[in-house]
Amino acid sequence: MLLAVVIVLLFIFVFLGMDIAFAVGVASLAFIGLSQFEARPINPVLFVQELTAGVDSFSLLAIPMFIFAGELMTKSGVTRRLISLASSLVGHRPGGLANVGITGNLFMAGISGSAIADTAAIGTVLVPEMKQRGYTARYAAGVISAAACVAPIIPPSIMFILLGSIANISVGELFIAGILPGFVMFLALIAMSGFLARRRGLPVEEKLTGPARRAAIYGGLLPLGAPILIVACKVFGIATPTESAAIVVLYTLVLGALVYRDLSLTGFFNAAISAAMTTAVVMMTVATSQIFGSLAVLAGLGRVLTDTILSISDNPYVILMLVNVGLLVLGTIMEPLPLMLILVPILFPLLGGLGIDPIHFGLVMVLNLVLGGVTPPIGLNLFVMARVAKIGVMDVFLGGWPYYLVLFGVLLFLTYVPWVTLVLPTLLMR
């Protein structure tokens, strides 16, 4: 009950223009304040403790480092070469650079395990370029924030690893299960990009011929080394996902400073400043959102949810729909990890008892949580993109909504057609 009051407060603060980090903070503090009148009050010290705990994570280090690498790429002309290469290959088709972004994210998805890392990596490189070529910042940020949602579905995926251990199901099977759905998402996004391009008359790159095309390809080969390097790190066991972000920074630095010699010392420091400040503002939001998760745990959100669901229906198809709707609503205001911790121990036994395959439901749940990253008011993916593109959070959302809609369509499709998820794990692992 108290939780509902606080959620309403949060929305009011956010829509009245309070900074989102503070809105979450003040709403949470109101919760703690009101709890003092209840039987078991919550100690306000928790509030302060969670702020630091939310940021104190090694995995989050990938965010500033990928943004740093992206800034370096932009400042040293690496981006330009990379885009020329990509657009010489697919840019002349309807959808132009948006296709380049979606495809780039698909490649990155096979390398990185998190949507935020991908948003930071691709967004920093591609958004400025798309702006320059006549796309609105809104549209550019929107399409890339949507495309980054493929990252946690295509293996490797940090979310699948967490889910595997919380729900006690195979991480390997989850990884395999994610491959086809990831491609379905990719194809759906490309289709939407083509549709929007024709409908809105978005710019298409000129199809290059002969020498120009070859020049673009040769020019892009070295920059293409960055993604190849991350793959190499993975294949040869050199670095963890977070560490590979640092390796990309080094590679970009070498390329910019020694190979192309376009990167000045000032440019280097400016890139670092920009990446640090961008990350800092986003982290403040991560910090306050952390509290919200713990408050929901302490308020027994999980129990309330199960009771509600079971009081409505016990038909598996209806329950799946209810769970989807519930997760989407909670996803608007909560981060994936706390949601997973609260709901997995309740939902998996519940749905398992109704005969739903845990791998199938695992995928549905993760996709759901990933989409929570692009729904306002609280969505880390939106925040990172807003900072990278230097536009408002709502702008990113408004630019990306057709793509998000497509992804919600895919979510429904995957919910009711388990075959797509289960065919590969069944063939390969069972």
């Binding site: 223009g17 309070m18 503070f22 003040v26 940021v55 104190d56 977070t242 080094l250 920009s274 925040f383």
Partner: protein, 170 residues
């Protein structure tokens, strides 16, 4: 704002940013160092996870403190932009007051945490745990300064800038 003080602010902004940027460069370098030590020399430093993480916490909170002071933020201004000037000022004044209250709570309840963590040593770094918890109250002081400045401006008849204007000002 006078031209002179404007220039001073620009330098302060650059200086603060530079400190945070240097912290970023440092922990990126340390991550690279531990990868190299592990892969080539089979001798990964035991602090390889904890020191970069500690620097990251510092960069995040101190950076955020300065960033808000210089006008960065993540807000939705679609609705508030449509509210007439004076009611808007009242709403914004109340909201900034509630933020001030929150920051004071953070400062107050940081004390027991700092006292507790001053006793604990992190095995891998040999540093006291308090180093992880210190940046938050420092950031709070910066954020309080920012809030006081904003309240003063609103009291003088202005309204908060929308997100886009704030970014353009940078």
């Amino acid at each position: 704002m006078g031209k002179e003080s404007g220039r001073r602010l620009t330098w302060l902004r650059y200086g603060a940013g530079l400190v945070c940027g240097l912290v970023l460069i440092t922990f990126t370098g340390l991550v690279l160092y531990s990868v190299a030590m592990r892969y080539f020399f089979h001798a990964p430093p035991i602090w390889g996870e904890d020191i970069p993480k500690l620097l990251f916490v510092w960069m995040s909170f101190i950076g955020a403190g300065f960033a808000y002071l210089f006008g960065f933020n993540i807000r939705m201004t679609v609705l508030i932009d449509k509210v007439p000037r004076n009611p808007r000022r009242v709403i914004e004044f109340v909201m900034h007051l509630s933020i001030v209250a929150m920051l004071l709570v953070i400062l107050w309840y940081s004390q027991p945490i700092l006292k507790l963590t001053a006793r604990n040593t992190v095995l891998s770094t040999g540093l006291k745990d308090i180093w992880t918890y210190l940046p938050l109250p420092i950031a709070c002081v910066l954020l309080l300064a920012n809030e006081v400045w904003r309240l003063y401006r609103i009291a003088r008849g202005e309204v908060d800038r929308s997100g886009q204007e704030a970014d353009d000002a940078l």
